[in-house]
Amino acid sequence: MLYRLLVEPFGFPFMARALTEAMLLGVLGGVVSVAVVLRRFAFVSDALTHTVFPGVVIGFMVAGAGGIVWGALVFAVFSAVLLTVLSSNRRVTEDATLAILLTGFFSVGVVLVSRRSSYTADLTAFLFGRILTVDRREILETAVVTVLVLAVLAVLGKELLLRAFDPDGSAALGYRVGLLDLALNVMVALVVVAAVKAVGTLLVIALLVVPAAAARLLTDRLALLVGASVLVGVLGGWLGLAVSYHASVYYGLRLASGATVVLALVALYAVAFAVGSARRMVSHHAPAAERA
């Protein structure tokens, strides 16, 4: 039964490719979401997912499917820099700046798509992705981004941790807080670029927040947090694909695979929430529990 649910679907090459892509994204999202959640960067990440959208559209219009990554990359870096610069102005608060950027960029994308005859089909693909049609080259692109982001985290990991925990303290030690924020912005943008083909610009935010948020409910230890977050990311991708395959093949239900992956992630979050709450209740009742 479990074999049939979790292994059998991936005998098909297109499903195997989708699984490879989902696993890579699970690792990538699992790691980066820890940085996002610790830095309380969820809304910033959400804004970035929207500002990349016009880049996706322009890339597609200029060079077809192969241009999507490059268009997204250009807009990702551009909006990451713009975001860092604009949010250093104290007169307008960061959330207002984000809202302006988010809707402004997003509208540019929608206006551009609306000029095309295949408006609805294109829009759907850009917003929600098509993980079942990813090819070798796209998997390779995701792998390259994953290696790149892991390398950046290897260089900056402990500094980003310090910055998230104690911004004044890190500035006092001589770290350029603005540059560390830019680095995280760029990393988030790279995840969006890597994930846009598979899950689309709207759903990628789930990948950037849910794994670490779920892991955070289960542990206080940083090392375990990263591991658990990656596990949630990978498991979500696997379960989501398996479920959407079964629903379609055995029950005639066509579920959008990208969205099913997101639902699997959210379901894992719900499980983590239940387990975490249960554990806290047990430790409250335990006589030897020491609470500060």
Binding site: K158, F165, G169, L173, L222
Partner: protein, 256 residues
């Protein structure tokens, strides 16, 4: 670079020369003038909004000096950060953040460790010794946020100790701190001073200023006094700095 001449006495750890500091165009603190020598401790005293935190940020080179000069260990403030430790108020930090006390102390070593590299054995030993110096050796594995306010403040002092600083800047370290932690903080500060470090403590607790420091800088937007505690904390000067909000009796002064 070789020094052309050797000075006869070591330069002050911290030198204010009619210094004014400002956020944007508005001066926050003006006319601060005085020296803090190695091994000395100075209390920054003044009501809320007097500019104590801003002055500390200026010593770190994070707020610009718009008039006069601040020299830290003979250097411009931003050039001295490696040898200066800043200890923020513990309650400004998120208690839910998933780091252990030991990990927080290790952060004091990050600049020495450098980019890419992970903390080594020497760093872990330094962190363990620093945690021991504030009496919390047994709490290394506890999550920072589960400790009491006083213990958290001691962990932050341990982080500063692990940094091996020549100058320590503490922002209201005794706020909401229980007696045990207060004694531990005072002990640790005493050892640091005996080792030659200079200490600046901002506080509005005059009794603690007496206990922790031998000099006082009395501030409210500008300097009212800078000198030995007994001379700087007179009823007249306190009333002037606190604008009549200080309750002054024969020998007890309570600032509000």
């Amino acid at each position: 670079m070789a020094e052309p001449t050797l000075p006869l006495t070591p330069p002050p750890a911290l030198h204010f020369e009619h210094a004014s500091v400002a956020y944007g165009r508005t001066p926050v603190v003006e006319a601060v003038h005085g020296d803090v020598h190695p091994g000395e401790a100075v209390a920054l005293i003044g009501p809320n909004g007097a500019g104590k935190s801003t002055l500390i940020k200026a010593v770190l080179g994070l707020v610009p000096v718009v008039g006069g000069r601040i020299t830290v260990l003979g250097r411009a403030p931003a050039q001295a950060r490696r040898d200066v430790a800043y200890i923020p108020q513990a309650d400004t930090l998120d208690p839910e953040f998933p780091v252990s006390a030991g990990q927080v102390v290790l952060m004091g070593r990050y600049r020495r460790i450098g980019w890419v590299r992970r903390p080594g054995r020497a760093d872990r030993r330094a962190a363990a010794e620093a945690l021991d110096a504030v009496g919390l050796a047994d709490k290394a594995g506890d999550r920072f946020g589960t400790l009491s306010g006083g213990q958290r403040q001691r962990v932050l002092l341990a982080r500063a100790i692990a940094q091996l600083p020549l100058l320590l800047l503490l922002d209201e370290p005794f706020n909401g701190v229980d007696a045990v932690s207060q004694d531990a903080l005072l002990d640790a500060l005493g050892s640091l001073r005996a080792g030659g470090a200079a200490v600046v403590v901002s506080t509005h607790d005059l009794a603690l200023a007496h206990l922790a420091c031998d000099e006082v800088c009395l501030l409210n937007r500008h300097q009212f006094a800078f000198g030995p505690t007994a001379q700087a904390l007179t009823p007249t000067l306190l009333r002037a700095a606190y604008g009549g909000h200080a309750l002054v009796t024969d020998d007890v002064v309570v600032a509000q």
